[in-house]
């Protein structure tokens, strides 16, 4: 067993565009579920709309990269409004069903062959990050070509540019959520999570607050999809329901009702993923695990599922959650 390369690959999981994308999406779920109590099982749909909004507006309409990203964000706002206006009056568990269905509708619209010339159908889209006319995301890369960093954190100039961009977006999102949740607005949102009728009886427009929370969390999800897409091609196979559950795992790992929890949760999730995807096939090759290497690499998803179950049973408030919350979990 090559422990050196396992360690190297595991540490690399700390900072990748995917980790940042997960952190952003988990932050969106923290807004939805952790603070506002909205059970959103369709975060993958918000991510898909962000990513596709960016890719399609660059490829089909020839927008510059930043405008394309804004289109992706705008798309998620519209998606949140369409989803929220009829469903936010529903009880929590019905909202969960509606969101999971809406995310699937979004994914299937990107997958169907009816719009192949725009969405690329099952093949997805590519070539939007670098444009021949110089309007692409990588064309604006200020970092000179070369390799940077050390050890497991060695990146070429393209990845480094995505990371830099992603970290800035993440920092802005974290600040935004923190600033909102310490304000009276955040107090109303947390009140709605606890009992919306009580908040309504105090003269607050609960529906408007829930819609605002849905839009903000959805925008964070879309930004996650955009960072993810800025690093690679886009394909509908990524935005499946299991992506939603991986993000839920990241969120619950860190703590649903915290600001930094989702970020740290996403990092821990990807470090563990990187570790397992390296160590399990190695174990299989060296005969310690009685399975084939292919089976071994899918075994990690089984472990994620078990981990998620253990987490919600034994530590529902997450790593960074308030200990007192555990005492009073409903």
């Amino acid at each position: 067993m090559d422990w050196g390369s396992i360690l190297n690959n595991t540490l690399a999981g700390f900072l990748t565009p995917t980790t940042i994308a997960f952190a952003l999406a988990a932050l969106g779920l923290a807004m939805h579920f952790g603070f506002a109590g909205l059970l959103n099982f369709g975060i993958a749909g918000f991510m898909a709309i962000g990513g596709y909004g960016y890719a399609i507006s660059v490829l089909t309409f020839g927008f510059p990269w930043w405008l394309g990203m804004l289109v992706g964000i705008l798309g998620s706002v519209i998606f949140a409004l369409i989803l929220g206006i009829p469903t936010l009056r529903l009880r929590g568990d019905y909202l969960a069903i509606a969101t999971i269905a809406a995310a699937e509708i979004a994914r299937l619209l990107f997958l169907t062959t009816a719009f192949t010339d725009v969405t690329g159908s099952a093949d997805g889209l590519f070539g939007f990050n670098t444009r021949p006319d110089g309007s692409g995301f990588q064309n604006s890369n200020p970092i000179p070509a070369g390799t940077y960093g050390f050890g497991p954190f060695t990146y070429n100039e393209q990845t480094l540019w995505v990371l830099l961009f992603g970290v800035i977006v993440l920092a802005v999102a974290v600040w935004f959520l923190w600033a909102l949740m310490r304000s009276p607005w955040g107090r109303v949102i947390k009140g709605i999570r606890e009992d919306e009728e009580a908040v309504r009886s105090l003269g607050k427009n609960v529906f408007a607050y829930k819609l605002q929370a849905l839009v903000i969390g959805g925008v964070f999800g879309a930004m996650g999809g955009i960072v993810y897409t800025a690093a690679q091609n886009i394909s509908p196979g990524v935005y499946v329901t299991s992506l939603t559950f991986f993000i839920w795992t990241s969120l619950l790992l860190g703590g649903a009702a915290t600001i930094f929890g989702p970020v740290i949760g996403a990092v821990i999730f990807w470090v563990i993923q990187a570790f397992l995807s390296n160590v399990l096939p190695e174990l299989a090759t060296s005969g310690i695990l009685p399975v084939s290497t292919t089976q071994a690499s899918t075994l990690r998803f089984v472990l994620v599922g078990i981990g998620l179950m253990l987490l919600v049973i034994y530590r529902p408030q997450g790593i960074f959650g308030d200990k007192r919350e555990l005492t009073f979990v409903k």
Binding site: A179, P184, R187, G191, E194, R200, S201, K204, A257
Partner: protein, 296 residues
């Protein structure tokens, strides 16, 4: 139990005879032809009812009489099939509940709704109206709301002291006892600076030690110029603090008047307070033999 101050009852509230639907000298809420059915069951069917201003009105009646439903209709938590009703001259038909609350009509709930995972202080501060920081754009910059928030906090502390919850201010509301939650809910309602306070069974599940202080709080609401409408099953409390009593049964108002007179009406006693109100519970169930004439 001895109250230091004897509650000052308000009299001379109505015009003409104290019959169901009688006119009041200074009505705050006027209800006309309000009807609400759930399937085949008519929960509320009120021809005409006026809730007087500046006094404490009790709404009593047996279980299923439609008291809570009437509460829900008045506060916009439910919509009636027909009818209209007004609050201080403004029609409330079709007005959503949060706007009703903004107009100064605040309610509490039969099953207390404390916001469990918010601290007691945050529960209180949530009640304050017209907060700048509750708009999403201003919320981002504390300059817009910091000063106002401090004022709200000071007001919350004052109320918490009055309700003897100040020692609990940093605890989660979930850690409060049932009675303390009732107090918190009432205190939180007062944060909205209401003109009409509607209490749905404020005494339900409260231990006798807290009852007296809750009673005093309700009376002090009136002294502070607020109008109170409450639903209650405890007849002693109703007699003690209410200036006016409205009796409901099967969705209709069947009697109203000052507590002393209404509770003496034989029909009201028999049908709505129970014919055995003065008898010992043991005698009613027949499980304990009561020796007559003992003690008195």
């Amino acid at each position: 139990m001895s109250s230091s101050k004897k509650p000052q009852k308000t009299t001379d509230i109505h015009i003409g005879d104290a019959v169901p639907g009688c006119k009041k000298k200074d009505p705050m809420v006027v209800i006309d032809h309000v009807k609400k059915s759930f399937g085949g069951l008519t929960a509320v069917d009120v021809e005409h009812l006026e809730i007087p201003s500046g006094v404490i009105t009790a709404l009593i009646g047996p279980n299923g009489a439609g008291k809570t439903t009437l509460f829900n209709l008045l506060t916009g938590f439910d919509t009636p099939d027909t009818g209209n009703w007004s609050f201080m001259g403004t029609s409330l038909s079709g007005v959503p509940s949060f706007k009703v609350a903004q107009m100064g009509q605040v309610r509490t709930f039969q099953l207390t709704k404390a916001l469990s995972l918010l601290t007691v202080t945050d529960n209180m501060k949530l009640g304050a109206k017209g907060q700048n920081g509750e708009s999403i754009f201003r919320a981002l910059f504390p300059g817009f709301w910091k000063k106002q928030d401090e004022e709200i906090e000071a007001k919350a502390m004052e109320l918490l002291k009055r309700f003897k919850l100040d020692a609990k201010k940093d605890d989660f509301a979930a850690s409060l006892s049932g009675g303390q939650r009732k107090l918190l809910e009432m205190a939180r309602a007062l944060m909205t600076d209401p003109t009409l306070v509607m209490l749905d069974e404020p005494m339900a599940g409260v231990n006798p030690a807290l009852t007296q202080s809750l009673l005093d709080h309700v009376i002090s609401l009136k002294e502070d110029g607020m109008t109170v409408l409450f639903v209650e099953h405890d007849m002693h409390m109703v007699r003690h603090i209410a200036d006016w009593v409205v009796v409901m049964a099967e969705g209709q108002v069947v009697a109203e008047g000052p507590p002393e007179t209404v509770m003496k009406e034989q029909a009201v006693i028999d049908a709505y307070l129970g014919a055995h109100q003065e008898t010992d519970l043991g005698e009613v169930t027949g499980r304990i033999n009561i020796i007559k004439g003992e003690g008195k």
